[in-house]
């Protein structure tokens, strides 16, 4: 099909009214709206800490760096969880060919999660962290104050309850409906997410064991079970927008997630090089994590292959762009940038530097932010009663895609340069500089990163604007 005729067909289909197949899928909408709202909050706090890197006393003592960073990373997790949940509530009924077990429970869960999340953020910003810890029962079971798991005990318990209600709802739907590979993989990923979160309650006094099991949440999430969720969502959207035979797509899905877990589980070892664990982890961790880019490379191949083989021109071209973007950016961020520092001989110098931050930014955006945005891009028009947004709205959305994606590339490259400088001056020089002296040399790069952060935010604003572009209708 030529591009011109595809575009004409797409424009025609875009005008046709469309509906979601099952009414209960509509519960996904508030989840996606909350996800986007929290995403905006995440980026605003990212800008605050980006500015604090260059103007160290900015907002001090009202919002210290540690508080702002905690809000930045916690909002990231929570908005992605809202996205995963919305995706689950949309995807599972459609794959199972039946209504959701309980739409009412899904809405109750939504409000509980949103209010609990908001109260937690208010607690972070309004109270000294140790007072918050004391008020919320951290003395009963200390779990707070570890990266990404800073939530108060009662919030953690709340997250477990929300997750159980969500999984109960989806599992009951799946049990009485059609069981496709996509829905099974999605649920396996979500159950894994909930099970490994239980390790956030494990906090041994022995720092080595504390760190060891901390990674059972953090690594086994993002380099393990989350990739199952990601693969399922990507496969779902690709089935829809390309019309390629489900058997082929599901075969790819299984192969990708097989490689994910085969490499990723033992790949946890790349976090065990220097935290007080036996030295053999350097061998296991290096070998298996060096293979971790493989599933991400397959993800890229998968997305491009399926789009190339497409049997229909879906009118939602923006969703296709997001799907392809996810493939490429997750490979670059998680695969290539992950590999850069993963071999123990290299990691010895790069561990805990801005190189870690550079990988983190591109990997989280490329893999998880983008796949949620892919899902939102495909489902939101349907949830709003049309097959696809108007070409004008899609044009704005595609522009937002490019601004955000190129900005994150900028952030990653500047942080990579920052990390390389840090390694050189602080760790490899024969007259090593102190941490803070080294930071002074990196300032111009931090400024450049901040500019890219502002540009990312403008892309995000464009993205939100795209929801309000109605476009001209010819009829």
């Amino acid at each position: 099909m030529s591009n011109a005729s595809a575009a004409a067909l797409a424009a025609e289909q875009a005008r046709a009214p469309a509906q979601i197949k099952y009414r209960s899928q509509a519960v996904a909408k508030p989840y996606f709206m909350a996800a986007i709202g929290l995403f905006i909050g995440q980026i605003l706090f990212g800008l605050i800490i980006g500015l604090q890197y260059v103007k160290g006393d900015f907002l001090f003592p009202a919002i210290s760096f540690s508080t702002a960073r905690m809000v930045h990373t916690n909002l990231l997790i929570v908005w992605l969880l809202f996205g995963f949940m919305g995706a689950g509530y949309f995807l599972i009924p459609e794959e199972c060919e039946r209504e959701l077990y309980s739409p009412k429970l899904a809405i109750i869960t939504f409000w509980v999660f949103l209010v609990a999340g908001a109260l937690t953020i208010v607690g972070y910003l309004g109270l000294p962290y140790n007072v918050l810890a004391h008020l919320t029962g951290n003395d009963l079971l200390p779990t707070m104050g570890r990266g990404y798991l800073e939530q108060p005990l009662i919030t953690k318990v709340g997250i477990v309850l929300v997750a159980l209600s969500f999984l109960f709802n989806l599992s009951m739907t799946l049990l009485s409906g059609r069981k496709t590979s996509i829905s099974i993989v999605m649920l396996l990923g979500l159950w894994g997410l909930a099970i490994f979160f239980l390790f956030s309650f494990v906090n041994p006094n022995n720092l080595v064991l504390d760190k060891y099991f901390w990674w059972w949440v953090v690594h086994l999430w993002v380099e393990g079970v989350w990739e199952l969720i990601m693969g399922a969502m990507l496969a779902f959207v690709l089935v829809k927008v390309t019309g390629v035979d489900r058997e082929i797509i599901e075969k790819w899905l299984y192969l990708i997630i097989a490689m994910t877990l085969i490499t990723g589980i033992i790949g946890t070892g790349h976090h065990y090089f220097w935290i007080g664990t036996p030295a053999y982890w350097q061998v296991w961790g290096s070998i298996f994590s060096a293979l971790e880019p493989v599933p991400f490379f397959m993800m890229t191949m998968f997305a491009f292959n399926m789009v190339k083989r497409r049997r229909r021109a879906h009118p939602n071209q923006a969703a296709t762009l997001w799907a392809l973007g996810t493939g490429v950016m997750s490979f670059l961020g998680a695969g290539v940038w992950g590999f850069l520092g993963t071999l123990s001989v290299v990691n010895y110098y790069t561990h805990g530097t801005q190189l870690t931050a550079s990988h983190g930014h591109m990997a989280f955006y490329g893999a998880y932010a983008m796949v949620v945005l892919t899902m939102i891009s495909y489902t939101m028009p349907l949830l709003r009663g049309r097959e696809a947004n108007s070409p004008q709205a899609q044009k704005v959305e595609k522009l937002a895609f490019w601004v955000m994606t190129l900005s994150i590339v900028g952030i990653t490259l500047f942080l990579t340069a920052a990390g390389a400088t840090q390694v050189w001056l602080q760790r490899m020089s024969s007259t090593p500089l102190s941490f803070m002296e080294t930071q002074d040399h990196i300032m111009p790069l931090y400024w450049a990163r901040l500019v890219c952060g502002l540009s990312f935010f403008s892309g995000l604003v464009l993205y939100v604007i795209s929801f309000f572009v109605t476009g001209k209708r010819e009829d």
């Binding site: 080595v208 299984y254 085969i262 010895y348």
Partner: protein, 141 residues
């Protein structure tokens, strides 16, 4: 992919591979936990160090600093700060915060009493004695 390579083959690789490697991971975990007492014989986890760890956590120190390379990258690595600076400097530094130097990165004043400061130092001393396979590369962290 050839036609003989079916979806169920791919599915079996997924289930078989995941279970196999997860069991292997559990085995390595068991070995690690059993090897730890001797591997970290030097690092004595005293009661003071345990109290210090809790202070470290409830002041969100990892929100700015790294500890054995993990945490935030805004402030210096503290896994070896006991060796780099010594106990008195650490206590004096925390008491003198914030510096209020315009434009400089600021550390909050946590109002710890002398006993709590000693606990923090005990925790950092314990951390510095963990066998990290010779990381960080030099004293600067």
């Amino acid at each position: 992919m050839s036609a003989s390579f079916t979806k169920s083959t791919a599915r079996n690789i997924f289930y078989g591979g995941s279970v196999f490697f997860f069991l292997l991971f559990l085995g390595l975990t068991l070995d690690t936990t059993m090897a730890l007492p001797s591997h970290n014989a030097k690092a004595k986890l005293t009661d003071a160090a345990v109290r210090g760890k809790k202070i470290w956590e409830t002041r969100n120190c990892g929100g700015c600093h790294t500890l054995l390379g993990e945490g935030a990258f805004f402030a210096p690595e503290l896994g070896n700060v006991y060796v780099r600076r010594g106990p008195d400097f650490i206590k004096g530094w925390m008491k003198a915060m914030p510096t209020n130097v315009p434009g400089r990165r600021q550390m909050p004043q946590f109002h710890l009493n002398d006993g709590e400061l000693d606990d923090v130092v005990a925790f950092l001393k314990y951390t510095s004695e963990i066998n990290t396979n010779n990381w960080p590369p030099n004293i600067q962290g």
